[in-house]
């Protein structure tokens, strides 16, 4: 048995080339990979972090942004505890695509999934095409949290994943401590995907 208290699935999505893989590598391996090739299908990495003394295992699914992998990547949305939607602050088209991504999330993900909007490549200040306020405003409109990151300069990357781990742990604890409801009105009866979206009994493990 591995030594962890909670296991959460985090899925990164967004256009090709916005830096999803670099963000994951920066967080899990502490490096900025030179010449990072496009992701094929879906890649996954694991990193364990500590939240209030509890070991929290993050299972990070890094999806390919290229269109031809869409059917494969969509299948990962439902079981995600958190989604990170990434765009490139120096590339307007990646921002313009966000509504399409939101539609995908609405269609496939659990309604209560924790979602972050991330504007990556914040180190390329001179090439910025989307002002931070615009990104933040968009995030607010769609009830997402917002962060700007740089995988290259390790800016806000740890913070992004740590915030997610903390928030998910908090939700899991709340779910767990809440007295078990009568099944007739409780979680079994909730609509699709609503059943124990976080931690709960199904996706967290207690040793």
């Amino acid at each position: 048995m591995e030594d962890y208290k909670y296991l959460f699935k985090v899925v990164l999505i967004g256009n090709a080339g916005v830096g999803k893989t670099c963000l994951v590598r920066r967080f899990t391996q502490g490096l900025f990979p030179p010449g990072q090739g496009a992701t094929i299908g879906v890649d996954f990495m694991i990193k364990t972090v500590e939240v209030d003394g509890d070991k929290v295992k993050l299972q990070i699914w890094d999806t390919a942004g290229q269109e031809r992998f869409r059917c494969i990547t969509q299948s990962y949305y439902r079981s995600a505890n958190a989604l990170i939607l990434v765009y490139d602050i120096t590339c307007q088209p990646t921002f313009d695509c966000l509504p399409n991504w939101i539609k995908e999330i609405d269609t496939y993900a659990s309604s209560k999934v924790l979602t972050y909007l991330v504007g990556n490549k914040s180190d390329r200040l001179l090439h910025r095409e989307i002002p931070a306020e615009i990104g933040e405003h968009f995030a607010k409109q769609h009830s997402m949290r917002y962060l700007e990151t740089s995988a290259k300069e390790a800016e806000n990357v740890d913070r992004l994943f740590t915030e997610i781990a903390v928030e998910l742990t908090k939700q899991a604890k709340e779910n767990f401590l809440r007295p078990r409801q009568d099944s007739t009105s409780g979680k079994v009866g909730m609509p699709n995907g609503g059943s124990s979206p976080v931690g709960g009994l199904s996706c967290c493990k207690l040793n």
Binding site: I40, G41, F69, C71, S75, Y76, S183, S202
Partner: protein, 723 residues
């Protein structure tokens, strides 16, 4: 102040102590002085001796160095003479060889010439050798370019006349005259042309295959397989040639060139495949049909996809196999040729392979496949649910077996594609479908509830007699009850099926994907483990079903039976006690009714569900009896009577259950023990240090409470008890 003075004194004392020590040391130093002077003279002598020796040695080694230099000059000179001789030999030889069309020989001469250092040789210019050397070089350069032209021309001619022997002959000459790249390019072009020709023939044949042919449904998979096998054979045959004459490290460019042709041919085959399978339209149709608002009429029949899906997976499986072959060959070559940066080179190979058109085309096909397979699975399960039938005698309805048959079929088919991402996606999709569609279906049916207010036993008898009389098929309530129990069974069996599915798929995945990278295996493992949590969700639905059943059929049913017990006086004299023995007041009837209840459900529940049901019933019996006992009064004989009754009940329940029932009755049994006491103090024989193996489930307060139920026990005695 005083304190300061004290520390000052202390310091002074310390200093004095030091002084004496220093004086002793000075004295001994004085004694050593003459010795030191002696040492000084000795070492000066030694030093002059050493420096003399060193000068001597330097003189000698300088001479040796000069000798060395002279020797290497001589060697270089001899080398140069040899080279000059070789050069002359080559100049003469190459002319003769060219005249005799002995190109191998000519190439050998050129090869020798090219290995000479022209600049060094030219340094001898100015001496009388100079002019002859010049001519030699000129002649050789001429011969070199002449030979190059000849080799190019003859190779092309050989290709043109399909003269395999000559093609190979000139292919081997290219590297001798430093034309490695040209040789490989020309050769792979030649091989590509062959591949192309065969592929075209194969594709045309495929297109003319009749639909009655038994391979017709997978003809494009067959065709693409032929292409891959053909290329593999070409590699098999020519790899030794490349390795021998071109040296290690050439497999990557060689295979890369062939891959270009493979890509071209694959594109053609996939194009024809799409055309003749009406692929694009079907994909489009499936996409539309997957929309939530698509009407049944617009939807494509999933059965229409079955054959296509099989062919798609087969195509990808072949491609994976082929790409693995290519990778193995190239990586092996990288490993022998590349001293350092091996991982980098291998990464380059991997990138090339995952970016090649073949890979891209297959990734696209797998994407479409996943979408259609998901649709197929979902629609087939919806159909199974729609056509759900429940036959009398069966525990479950048809949709459970049907649905899981479909899920298994689809995931297995995905597995046959050999695409790790494809299998992962289908596992995810299967989980989603089971949880969102299938589980919700069961859940919503269970939500209808178990009809109450009508006694099942009576209904059962009524229906039996009605059926026998041919009057009535089955009442609506009766049907609803049967349906509910069937759904409860369906839910339990589903949750088990998912576990079994997981186990079986795990085994198959290990078999099919045993060779893939550790990382991919972990990915598969992780997607597979999601099935376990889906199984648990079905368990939750089953629990929900049982709460429905409990409130409708268990709790209200037991209530009146226990009421009979409450109404039976346990304040009895000898006569009444004997009378009870002859005419049991309640427990026998209770057991009969209980037996009836359990039997009726037993016939309609799976073993697992029945166990749970019996467990629920017994728990409820103990809860209600306990409550009733605490509201009643007993005398000595009444306590004895109750003890007898309880034994009968436990005896019966033990006989009908597979697990031990006594634990559930522990509290009641202990109550009976207390009610059966002679006098209050006797409790101490069973309590505390005297309890022996008995573990009390009653608190001291509860013990007192039960004792007070005995009308003949005095309150003061009970109060005085030390528990």
């Amino acid at each position: 102040m005083e304190c300061f003075g004290e520390s000052l004194n202390q310091e002074l004392e310390d200093l004095q102590e030091h002084q004496t020590a220093i004086e002793t040391k000075m004295l001994s130093l004085h004694k050593m002085l003459p010795n030191l002077q002696l040492l000084h003279t000795d070492s000066r002598q030694l030093s002059s001796m050493v420096s003399f020796t060193s000068t001597l040695a330097e003189n000698v080694s300088g001479k040796v160095r000069q000798l060395d230099l002279a020797k290497s000059h001589v060697t270089a000179c001899m080398q140069r003479v040899e080279d000059v001789l070789d050069l002359k030999f080559c100049t003469d030889g190459v002319q003769t060889a060219l005249q005799n069309e002995d190109y191998e020989q000519a190439a050998a001469h050129i090869h020798r010439f090219l290995s000479l250092d022209e600049n060094v040789l030219r340094m001898t210019e100015g001496s009388n050798e100079g002019s002859t050397l010049d001519t030699s070089f000129q002649l050789l350069h001429e011969a070199e370019s002449k030979l190059k032209k000849i080799v190019h021309k003859n190779f092309d001619a050989a290709v043109h006349s399909k003269d395999v022997a000559s093609v190979e002959r000139f292919f081997k000459i290219f590297p001798l005259i430093n034309l490695h790249d040209e040789g490989l390019t020309k050769f792979s072009k030649y091989l590509s042309a062959q591949i192309s020709e065969t592929a075209e023939t194969n594709l045309n044949q495929a297109l003319s295959v009749k639909s009655s042919d038994k391979r017709s449904t997978v003809i494009f998979a067959d065709t693409i397989t032929l292409l891959f096998e053909g290329i593999a054979r070409v590699v098999e045959i020519h790899q030794p040639l490349v390795e021998t004459y071109y040296g290690p490290g050439k497999m990557f460019p060689f295979m890369a060139a062939l891959q270009k042709e493979c890509d071209r041919q694959t594109r053609k085959i996939v194009e024809k495949f799409k055309e003749s399978r009406d692929f694009t339209r079907k994909v489009q149709k499936v996409r539309q049909s997957s929309m939530p608002r698509a009407t049944a009429a617009e939807k494509i029949d999933p059965k229409e996809l079955d054959v296509l899906l099989a062919e798609l997976t087969l195509m990808n499986a072949r491609a994976e196999l082929y790409l693995r072959f290519v990778r193995r060959r190239v990586v092996a070559d990288v490993e022998v040729s590349q001293e350092e940066d091996r991982t980098e080179k291998v990464a380059e190979v991997d990138k090339f392979l995952s970016d090649c058109d073949l890979s891209r085309l297959m990734q696209e096909l797998v994407g479409s496949y996943i979408m259609m397979e998901e649709y197929f699975m979902k629609e087939m399960v919806v159909k199974a649910v729609k056509m759900d039938t429940y036959e009398g005698g069966a525990m479950t309805s048809s949709m459970v077996d049907d649905a899981f048959f479909i899920v298994k079929k689809c995931v297995r088919r995905a597995m046959s594609s050999c695409s790790v991402d494809g299998v992962c996606a289908m596992l995810n999709n299967a989980c989603t479908m089971l949880e969102q569609d299938f589980k919700e279906e069961l859940h919503s049916r269970l939500k209808l509830g178990f009809p109450s207010g009508f006694d099942l036993t009576q209904a059962y008898n009524l229906v039996q007699s009605s059926i026998q009389q041919g009057k009535l098929q089955s009442s609506d309530t009766e049907k609803a009850k049967a349906n509910f129990l069937c759904m409860l069974n369906d839910t339990e069996v589903s949750s088990d099926y998912i576990q079994t599915l997981k186990k079986n798929l795990q085994a198959e995945i290990t078999k099919v994907f045993g060779h893939v990278h550790q990382h991919s295996q972990e990915k598969l493992e992780s997607c597979l483990s999601e099935l376990a949590s889906v199984s648990n969700k079905f368990r939750e639905v089953r629990e929900f079903g049982f709460t429905q059943l409990y409130s409708a059929a268990i709790k209200p049913r037991i209530k009146p039976w226990v009421d009979t017990f409450s109404a039976t006086s346990h304040l009895i004299d000898d006569e009444e006690f004997t009378n009870y023995e002859a005419n049991d007041p309640w427990v026998q009837a209770f057991i009969v009714q209980l037996d009836n209840l359990l039997n009726t459900f037993k016939a309609s529940l799976t073993t697992g569900n029945n166990d749970t049901f019996v467990s629920h019933v017994t728990t409820e019996v103990t809860i209600q009896l306990e409550k009733a006992v605490l509201k009643m009064s007993f005398n000595r004989l009444g306590g004895l009577q109750f003890d007898k009754e309880l034994r009968a009940l436990v005896g019966y329940l033990t006989s009908v259950t597979t697990w031990t029932i006594r634990d559930k009755f522990a509290r009641l049994t202990q109550m009976a023990t207390i009610l059966n006491l002679e006098k209050v103090n006797e409790i101490l024989d069973y309590w505390g240090p005297n309890s022996g193996p008995l573990t009390w489930r009653l608190t001291p307060t509860e013990v007192r409470q039960v004792l007070t139920l005995r009308v003949d026990f005095r309150g003061d005695d009970i109060k005085r008890l030390k528990l």
